[in-house]
Symmetry: C2
Subunit: 331 residues, 2 copies
């Protein structure tokens, strides 16, 4: 005899109160057929309601939040993502990256993607100068990409992006002519990639919109320490989104978007400190040099670690959860 699940029927509800509203929202959302979404919306309702109940949120405050979120959405465009900025300044972006891309010891830490990555940046040959900015201080970047046992990862896709010397990404400039300060490269046989660029400078995140206003209310500055972004992709390996920060930057310990990690802070060298380097890369000896060895983690190792961390978190919460396709859901 064929069995069939009767269609989900939420219980009747009326006379909702401060106390019973959350369970009623769960009940009505319980018809969602995707177990992961059901769990996400359950937790979302709990936290949204608990926030209002704990703070005794007023109608006026609620209305201010509605207005703020609306303005945040409305300032977004093809080249501006204010909601990512909002997530960044609340540390949520850093947190989500840390959860989704756990790093075993010895591998390179990840950090925030930020709102200025461009999916369709130009593929360039190794050695190319990625910046058209003649005002910037010249920088040679020579890095390696290896696996966790030190084997070079040849042919890895490396996405790099940085601001110009005034602290603006190409996509922020109204007068821009094509991409600038960004490229997609491939590592060579020895897992090396190198390119010419400019020394990163500290810059404010866009602060002329809702997020900037919020930072002012919070008496926070909008600055990020000088850094260069990197995004690595390679079949079989967990994508690595990271950035390198310059030691001694005035904003090293107060990054507006919580992106700095000790392991990602670097000292710049001079090319002349390395014999033969100037000739090999065709730059003058007093050019600044950024060197770093990136270590990628296999997908298998990352997934294993992520699953382990998720079940540990679920156990510590005492919630009856299980993993389904690597995601926590109710049993």
């Amino acid at each position: 005899m064929a069995s069939s699940t009767p269609p989900y029927k939420p219980p009747p509800m009326k006379s909702l109160t401060i106390e019973n509203i959350t369970d009623n929202v769960h009940a009505i959302n319980g018809g969602c057929e995707n177990a992961r979404l059901r769990f996400l919306f359950e937790r979302l309702a709990v936290h949204l309601h608990d926030f209002a109940r704990e703070t005794r949120l007023s109608t006026e405050e609620w209305a201010a939040a509605i207005k703020f979120l609306t303005e945040t959405g409305q300032i977004c465009s093809d080249t501006r993502q204010e909601f990512i900025l909002l997530s960044d300044i609340f540390g949520l972006s850093l947190l989500v990256d840390s959860i989704d891309h756990p790093k075993p010891p010895g591998s390179t830490d990840g950090t925030v993607l930020g709102p200025f990555h461009v999916a369709e940046a130009e593929h360039m040959n190794l050695g190319t100068h990625i910046s058209q900015d003649t005002e910037g201080e010249p920088l040679l970047v020579v890095c390696s990409v290896k696996d966790s046992v030190g084997r070079p990862l040849a042919g890895t896709s490396v996405d790099v992006w940085e601001t110009d010397s005034r602290g603006f990404y190409d996509v922020q400039r109204a007068d821009r002519d094509g991409f600038d300060g960004r490229a997609v490269l491939k590592t060579d046989e020895e897992g090396i990639f190198h390119f010419k660029a400019i020394v990163p400078v500290p810059y404010p995140i866009p602060d002329d919109g809702p997020v900037g206003k919020l930072l002012k209310v919070l008496k926070r500055h909008p600055y990020r320490p000088g850094h260069m972004h990197f995004k690595f992709e390679r079949a079989g390996y967990d994508p690595l989104i990271t950035a390198l920060y310059l030691r001694g930057d005035p904003y090293e310990t107060s990054d507006a978007v919580f992106g700095v990690k000790d392991s990602l802070i670097v000292d710049l060298y001079k090319v002349s400190q390395f014999e033969g380097c100037a000739e090999q890369y065709g730059v003058s000896g007093d050019t600044k040099l950024l060197k770093y060895d990136f270590v990628l983690v296999t997908e298998t190792e990352t997934h294993g670690l992520r699953d382990k961390n998720a079940m540990k978190a679920a156990d510590s919460l005492g919630m009856d959860l299980q993993l389904e396709d690597g995601k926590l859901v109710r049993k």
Copy 2:
């Protein structure tokens, strides 16, 4: 000797982790000079981060949320407020109204304002027909407004609004010519207000945008039971935002925005059931009649009840809080 507070200096931070990010966000936001905002942003960071930590939110899910919020903001206009809809379908609007406008026994319950209230609706005389919709079923509305001991509240401002017979508010119609189905009235010497309108019909909340898509994913219908909105304002009294719902409506127990309360469900009468009513109000005897006695609460009583509830909630959370201008803040 004059004392002075040294400027707030957040602790240096770098190497942020899943575990320490929340405290670091608190520390950086700790410079905000408004104690209430400091508390709100503290709890916001806690719930935002706990949500991500408990669900082990993935980068992909985070990105979907960013996209959803952006689209929600972008569909908003002078006549469409999608973020209010979002708040409504998660029960947050009902919850915030219940917290901010607690009702002592014997007073009229509040409910959701919804996104279709218009601040600048036309002032009309008692008895006016507020609907231009000739397809709607005629309705006479005769209600009283009293205080908690039954004294009529003459001169109370009453804002009323309803959809047309097809379920659309005036502001939703592209072809509209001025306001329709809404008015601001004033109660007479006996605290009575009356007007002509049409019998409310159930209708779907706008479901052609992000919120509509979300409802589909959650397998929820977008319907609200037929209702008429009321908003009362009077100096010295807590504003009352409420609505009356028609008993027996197919969506009476599954309102998409959680607005129905038992005490706000009404049976319609016929004018002929009340002697002299047809003549008094100049309508035919078979016209439907909506009668209700609204009871407003003084500001003093509402504030007292709100403060009491807030301190009770704070105590039950074991957080060290106090009231400042009627709002919870850290001691």
